[in-house]
């Protein structure tokens, strides 16, 4: 039987992930993401109303037109977690395939919302939930398994596709975090078992492969200690206080809420995407908020809440969107004086997010911080740990899985080759069993496990 890995998107960038695995004449697709950076290049891009071909041309979503030359029946479209660079193009692309969308419950719920927001296409693929640790037969030959994993969004999994020629592992994205509150540790034993059973190929993210400094990614427990140390005093001060972080980072949100509930401040989670990710997580019992916390996404409610907070700033903790300084998000709008809440001297702002490296983010964040500071805010920046595996985590992963082949993914060429060099240290060889693919290229395995 021939197994073929088709690199549809995400092999030349951090974004718009999509990979197809063809096993005999059946196909399983992993991820349909968007590439948000590209939007800042073309000013007039209104995603919700645009056709997929236009978005493909602008590099915003994966170019899946090559799939029409792939002679095989698509048996499932699998999403291993709910970040937009993995699910964001589902409403533009999924309807072309007669196959179910498969993900963990939280991811499925996020996909549902994405589909509902779509204005151009109607998407009616069946939705199938699969829990971490569970398996599902996609065909006589193919079984999909979700292995418990950790990342920076709940219910992230590593996918294992059992085929007659060996297992294909899709690990995009993951970190090895043994100390999260919401997610149990990764199932290392199962990963080792898969390694013993025989992994034909690993498809693996490489976003932190260039970091030679923090070689094992710090746990979210570290982020919580850092935030506790930062937030302790500001929570007591009679001043305004704002925290901003990734809306989808529910583990971090949980930590912030847990730290904040030791004070008397009312916690307001504000912004559309806060509602999207945290509202959903709370309703599904993933996120546990104290009784005096609210999540508000509707602009009117947000403004009303901000007006209340403006009245008595020391009584509130605002958790807002806008950590990259994106002009339309909440914190930048506050900084720019466009909301009822005014930054005043001594207010504390905690940015629990790095600058996602890109000149536009750097500029937006710089301008936001300058404005906040010129109004007198004290800024605690970069209180963050990564959600992606570091180099030594990757090394551990390779030693568990012992894959016959490796396909580095989800990175630009510098990341992918930095990962490849790591794999070479572990005895693999670029061009032999490490395969560097560009978007649109495919790797065929004929022999099964070596």
């Amino acid at each position: 039987m021939t197994v073929e890995i088709i690199a549809v998107g995400g092999y030349e960038e951090v974004g718009k992930n999509m990979t197809a695995v063809k096993v005999g004449d059946e196909v399983v697709i992993f991820d349909m993401g968007i590439h948000l950076d590209r939007l800042s290049i073309h000013e007039d891009t209104d995603i919700d109303r645009m056709h997929s071909l236009d978005l493909i041309e602008r590099g915003v979503i994966p170019d899946d037109t090559l799939m029409k030359d792939v002679d095989g029946k698509v048996k499932g479209i699998v999403f291993t977690h709910g970040h937009l660079d993995h699910i964001g193009a589902v409403a533009k692309l999924a309807h072309r395939y007669d196959a179910p969308l498969i993900a963990t419950p939280y991811t499925i719920a996020l996909i549902e919302r994405t589909i509902k927001g779509e204005r151009k296409f109607s998407v009616s693929n069946p939705l199938t939930t699969l829990n971490p640790g569970a398996k599902i037969n996609l065909s006589k030959n193919i079984t999909l398994e979700f292995v418990q994993s950790t990342h920076s969004i709940p219910q992230s999994v590593i996918a294992a596709l059992h085929t007659p020629d060996g297992i294909i592992v899709y690990a995009n994205d993951f970190k090895f975090d043994n100390h999260q509150k919401i997610s149990p540790p990764p199932d290392y034993n199962r990963l080792k078992e898969l390694g013993r059973k025989g992994v034909l190929s690993l498809i693996v993210e490489t976003t932190r492969a260039l970091d030679y400094h923090e070689v094992k990614t710090y746990s979210e427990k570290v982020a919580k200690i850092i935030l506790e140390d930062i937030m302790r005093e500001p929570l007591k001060e009679k001043k305004g206080m704002i925290v901003t972080t990734f809306s989808s980072h529910v583990e971090r949100i949980q930590a912030i809420a847990d730290i904040a509930k030791t004070s008397d401040r009312e916690i307001l989670f504000l912004g559309r995407s806060m509602e999207r990710f945290c509202g959903l997580a709370e309703s599904m019992g993933i996120l546990e908020l104290p009784p005096n916390a609210s999540i508000l996404g509707n602009p009117k409610s947000v403004n009303k809440a901000l007006a209340r907070a403006e009245e008595k700033r020391e009584d509130y903790l605002l958790v807002a969107t806008g950590h990259q300084g994106e002009p339309d998000a909440l914190l930048p709008r506050i900084a720019n004086g466009k909301t009822p809440f005014q930054i005043r001297s001594g207010d504390n702002v905690v940015i629990s997010a790095p600058v996602i490296p890109n000149p536009t983010n750097a500029a937006n964040r710089h301008i936001m911080e300058r404005r906040l500071a010129s109004d007198g805010a004290r800024i605690y920046s970069n209180a963050h740990v990564s959600g992606h595996a570091g180099r030594e985590d990757h090394r551990d992963f390779l030693r568990m899985l012992k894959p016959s082949h490796i396909i580095p993914a989800h990175g630009d060429l510098t990341m992918i080759t930095a990962y490849a060099e790591l794999a070479e240290e572990e005895g693999y060889r670029i061009g032999n069993n490490i395969h560097i693919l560009r978007n649109g290229q495919a790797q065929v395995f004929n022999g099964g496990i070596s």
Copy 2:
């Protein structure tokens, strides 16, 4: 007699230069510049119509309100060259002083234009031209001398203020370039003579003090060789060709014109500030353009010229504003499809300017280059040499002048202290005879030359 140097602006930033020198009860002011970076922080700043106090509050122009506490008669306002960070606030501030504006002819002409463009204040100070090498008595005690120098705009000088207590040298900005076409080399002999006569204090720019690599700044002759090597083939290709550089950098503009006139292309200098600086320079006989060159600033004429160039792109060389990717300048507008000229595959774009370091410039330039490249342009970036003295140039300068005191200026604290460390290598000492001033601080010299 007491000499006092008052650091009004430019001692905490690259921008808004202004220094006052009080000699007994008479005062000479050097420069009235603006700080363009600050404009990007506050979105709604319309300089031409704003009051100086508002601009001062936003940090856009020097805070000269402290001058009301300076008990002395202002005898002259001196500008050593025509860059906006040195003359840009003249229309906002000069009218408060009953004193002439003194500069070289080209600088005076630029000042006149600035004053004419002002909408808020009327400025009627007399204008006095002083040529490089010439002197003028400002009072019985004070004589101003302009020493021939080089920079990145024509007719830049180093000012020497002869006082009973010694000479005050104001060198802000300068480079040591022995190979310019328009400007003769700096008058090193006169600088050494001043050193022998006795320099009480040097006030000196520090913008490149942090560059430990290119320790003597390269000559413009180097820029010309680089541009020749870059432009030779593109000039021959049947493709569009655009060069962008600093409009005020007439020496560079001259080099570009000289290179281009070996081809048959018609040269179009396009953009408002091209007209301002180059039109003026040509009318004054400073810039010599070939017969088939035109300078167009008026938006309508620019568009018409671009439409012609669009028709027959291989017949034109466009020299356009917009090297920083500023959204309103010409090249970014071309890149964004907002002009009649479309970038086509194979067009050549030469950016003869560095990214002026600032996150907003980095983002704008990045977006512009991405757009140009995605339309198929070939980009030659950073074909540039600096207009500011390097560390070893500064060392030579100190050895010529042997000042008793040094006041580093025109830089942020990292630049000013990097310069101070260089001066310490030459036997000076911070806190003894190197004086680090912040905006608004003053240094008093009682003893004359030591």
Copy 3:
């Protein structure tokens, strides 16, 4: 009464700290450190046998010859912790002063050892121990207080010198760590009380003032979590295992021991300075090691232990000196094949220390890591958190103490001015109440607290 702060050493470098505080006609000296970097410039420097004047000329120890012009009686020489850049020159300089050496018990013990090792001078100053939280009268006018603090060596304190004109606080070095096992948290309440009583001047370290990323320094608790996550699996593997870290960092050593004692490995602390710092700490009850741990400094014992470990590598955890790759330290010697212990494929090496920034360290460390890796070791590098206050810690500190004046210390000019800019954000002003001193300069306070 006149108070004068004399910057003897450490105001132009990270190293050779020494400051004198003159109160009326009495003097208190803080620190007598060495500058280890300078040793690599001159190859033939044998400190133990050299005269202080030679060491002064080479920049290895503070130039205290200026003290002969300080007209005052030295009442005490105070050491706030036991790092070599604070106590390392004591044997070269202290004998010139007729005054007791005052420090916490652990620091005093380290000073005693330094004095015993000296070959050139005999030092007989009385030794006085002062505990954190305790006070001692140095004269009728001057009382010395040690405030509980945290750093990367046990029993570090912040010194407060009570004078008739206000308190002088000497905080060099410190971090704010609320989660150490050995050291209680800093006594924030006492620091705030001092602020209320009136701090005339703060003398403060600036080593991390340039880090705009990790703005509050991470706790040692974070280092322990990182090390646990790194060490867990290697401890179980049937492979050799070496950890290297700062010998004086007893808190870190404690963490390593606590993590290791969950395994059956015998822990060997190896190297001369391990014995110096950890042996002493254990004998004083500061460091608590499991029963199967030994500390060996004598080269013969070290070699014998290494030979045993070579026999059965999976039974030992080696904790070795040499984290900077210094050619004479243990780990580099192991890497270079100069000991009975050979690195074998799969051995794990944990480097719990950053590269101390300096080209020689970078080269040594690079060569060591290359050698270790070429023998098959897996290297976990940079598992470390800093022992120095970050920018926001400094801001908190300033808000607690509210000093009238600030003298930044223990850094090169870039660090000292980066701190100064932070202090300016808090309302201070360089040249007014922030005083940038160079080695050998002094700042006089006449007015007392403003």
Copy 4:
């Protein structure tokens, strides 16, 4: 006919270049270089006496043991220029092949010297000189052509191997410099002709592919202007003066001599490798020195010359080895006080070389500069332009040659992939017609030119 490119060495590093091209059953080898960096990792490496297998194991020379599996007759070993990373292993490897060594006259002369210095092997391959622009038939099927090129050593060529399946171009190393004194400009017309005839594959250096700033490498004419501006005043001062640069960079040496001969100083070229490269170049009429110049390599003569220069320093210009601060080279030994010449205050040292990026060089250079400066020397560092093609030079090269396939060489993976991305911008594709090889891998072309 099958063409196979075998990447023997230099495909994972800058160093130890060696490539074999198999055409049918005949083989042509390009380069046999050494990798000098590796020597600093193993301290006890004495190249001249070591066996090739030991050197291969340590990574110092290419692992050509794989050539025993290459079934073909070696018809020639070709060297395109005389740098050690291209010819340095000739004495260790060439004797295994029954084939002539082919190079330009200067390169051949350097190879002869290398062979004479060898202590382990005797090398008796015939030596064949081939001039730039000339051709030689290596067999019925294969013709070798040397195309005139420029680099940083005289008589560098680009090799074109004419085969029945198309031309193989070997361009390793080169720059496009139109303004050298010794070497004529590259023969662009011939390169374009080759492109029209049909290039099957280009094998091309990538050392500067990561430089996104200086996109067209500056000409040596620029270096000469920089050096003139730097050297003018020091040549006149009554002080010592030393210049250090690459001994093999005869064009630069020529420029230094031409600048210096305007003064009365006697020029002494000092150091073993100065004699090797410059002595040879002078004897062959390549380098033209003024009558008062001497080249001395023998340590005794060097010392005697230095003693003379010490007596009357203002009468000499020393041109010395040691630009990387290598402890055994001349300038570092002078800096370390190990020669009869003492650095004195005011002496001028011009370093016409960059730090070759590597932590050991950085440390050595840092220490040397610190020592020179502490003795009072004024240092002009980094007065240099590169000898390697920049990104836009590479783009021009691709447009001239239009090769069917590209094999990037002479770089680590980051350089090779940075080049590959450039080639993708020109329409090539990694994995399709851009082939990333690792040392020991081969690329087979069956189809001829596409």
